[in-house]
Symmetry: C2
Subunit: 388 residues, 2 copies
């Protein structure tokens, strides 16, 4: 098989490792331990849907100097062997006696001094993807070395996308753009929303997505009730607003944006709300600059809504995007992450139409030195129409 | 929207909670804390693909007596409100100051005595899906209460499927059966393997899958090199064996099985290897009974291969199946889990054809009092043929 697992040339990964090692040095850490699908894909290029199986843990160690080490189940040796990774160590997992604990502990001891500090992500938007009891066993085995919070180490690096990464995200955004353009062909009054969700996934695959990790949406009279539900069998009806939201994947990179459609002419409140969402997004596209914080961008979107008489939703109004469906930062009044050139973000203002009906609008951008550049084809200013 | 989130009637969930509470009593625990998508779906019926976003943690507490409590981000309140769950507590996540830590700690303190033992999964095939630093903060906040390993509490309950669950798994197996039957229509010599993977996902959706969480496979002369890779663009060639493996999803339940196809007449070594895999599976279908262990079933499959001159792969030869792509137990010589009536399992013998070429065969079964019942339509005894 050709080398499909290595999404980028080795130089791309070496640059990432160098940036992670600069972070380790700045934080006086001796190594970084990574356990999540995204972090392991980021450092190695190891891409597989096999993460769906919770059976086995996978590890990458980035020492303060030198090459990273993959410590993985032997079922992954062939695929990891086709990446750039120079040092791959395997065990036959799952092993109830010792599921990689000894191999991981030995590897950590090998590359760190006895008083070493080993960073691993522990903060917001991170998880430790290994059994907790095994983490405690490793902790005990490598003492007096200590684990410390490495959230910043990985997040400050991953959040700045390289040009090849931005191209990948642009590619999948374009695939989803083409799929959204087909929606009026298969979504119309009388068709079950579950059938529409299915056809939308088929359209994404037909347009070139490798797979579809996320489709959600909503439909209801003048707006919808939530944005994370699976599809009901209810047929779409005149007066409904249909929202489809997708995180489709190409070469391991996600898009994450939605589009809204109206079955027939929308009522005045819905049209007004949609107009406020569109213009609030426009405000962000015009005003956002590097050096602002996530909170500043939230304020542009939030004020763009309130200034036009709309009631913003209380949750975040956008977030980072890349090798997971959502990444930090969060566009909320509480997130003071600095927005820098090279960050890929979603602008996702949402507002209440009436009662429990809401609308949510979403675009994907990359922040450049002179401001945002759209990765999605901008949604039209008025709601797109489906056949009654 | 109709009540699609509640896959089963409330009585099904009440029975599950009663069984979990019996386990808690047997282990002298005061509550169970669950954090994973599967465990939360199992106890509540809360089904969403939103777990693709790592941004927010979600919690369910099962006290030793009384109703369970959902402690979740407010973005999920609408969907959780449509499940059977009687007690739902929310916070506006993500919140960098306190992302549910106080709400979770307060809720745990409310339902447990000060000397309480709170079970949470820490063992093989489990992860803690919340930031590690927040787990430590909760641990500190609820002291002198202690977290203890609750792996057995959840696994001994979840591994025995109810009849409604078995029906759901059978449904998705039948959907995949129909999709596999269509493979010769879109897979033939000269077509790129990536295009075949895409068409196979489309076939799964067309046949009724809600979504496709997993497709992997391999293709190569007389056999393939690994079974977890994404698809390359290489065209399928005469003499290739194509394997497609899928974990498609319907109502939150997975199938997990593969099928093998030959482009033209297979060579003798490949045909012999496939025959050994088919007959080893047949041995298991005939000999497996409740009361055997996972190790016993591994031995039936392994001996079925070696007895026919085949060289078994070193990894597990099957595993549990249900609401994740793979569940415990693992069919290895090290797993002594008792196989009981109501367990759903994959039989997945794999063997070396020659050199680095392998073949893997897979069926899904439910174990009944009198032996296995197939959930998949049995693979034909000889390799299915694709056009040259």
């Amino acid at each position: 098989m050709p080398d499909r697992s290595l999404i980028f040339p080795a130089s791309e990964y070496r640059q990432r490792i160098a940036r992670l090692q600069a972070q380790l040095a700045a934080k006086d850490c001796d190594a970084l331990l990574l356990t999540s699908a995204a972090d392991i894909f980021y450092t190695t290029g190891f891409l597989t849907r096999f993460w769906e199986s919770p059976a086995r843990p996978w590890f990458v160690i980035v020492p303060a100097q030198g090459d990273p080490i993959a410590v993985i189940p032997s079922i992954g040796a062939d695929l990891m062997g086709r990446t750039w990774m120079p040092d791959i160590r395997t065990w036959n997992a799952p092993d109830p006696r010792d599921d990689g604990v000894t191999l991981l502990s030995d590897s950590l001891r090998e590359v760190t001094p006895e008083t070493g500090r080993i960073a691993t992500p522990m903060g917001l938007e991170t998880h430790l993807r290994m059994p907790l009891a095994d983490y405690h066993a490793v902790q005990h085995s490598i003492a007096p070395r200590q684990f410390v919070d490495g959230t910043d180490v990985i997040q400050r690096v991953r959040e700045i996308k390289s040009d090849p990464e931005i191209t990948k995200i642009h590619d999948i955004c374009q695939i989803a753009d083409r799929a959204f353009a087909r929606v009026p062909e298969f979504a119309m009054a009388g068709k079950g929303i579950d059938a529409i969700f299915r056809d939308f996934q088929i359209a994404l695959l037909t347009q070139g997505a490798d797979w579809v990790s996320y489709v959600a949406g909503g439909a209801g009279q003048g707006g919808y009730g939530d944005v994370i539900s699976p599809a009901p069998a209810t047929p779409l009806a005149k007066g409904d607003i249909l929202m489809l939201d997708t995180g489709a994947v190409k070469d391991g990179y996600f898009c994450d944006f939605d589009r809204n459609f109206t079955v027939g002419t929308p009522n005045a409140a819905t049209a007004r709300c949609h107009d406020a969402l569109w213009h609030a997004t426009q405000d962000a596209l015009e005003q956002l600059r590097p050096g602002m914080t996530a909170r500043d961008l939230w304020a542009i979107l939030n004020n763009g809504l309130t200034g036009r008489g709309a009631t913003p939703l209380g949750g975040r109004l956008g977030h980072g995007l890349g090798i997971t469906l959502t990444e930090w930062p969060s566009l909320t009044p509480l997130d003071d992450t600095e927005l820098r050139s090279g960050m890929v973000l979603t602008l996702e203002p949402g507002a209440v139409v009436e009662g429990d009906r809401i609308l949510v609008h979403e675009e994907n951008i990359v922040l450049r030195d002179d401001g945002p550049e759209l990765l999605t084809t901008r949604a039209p200013q008025t709601l797109m129409t489906l056949a009654e």
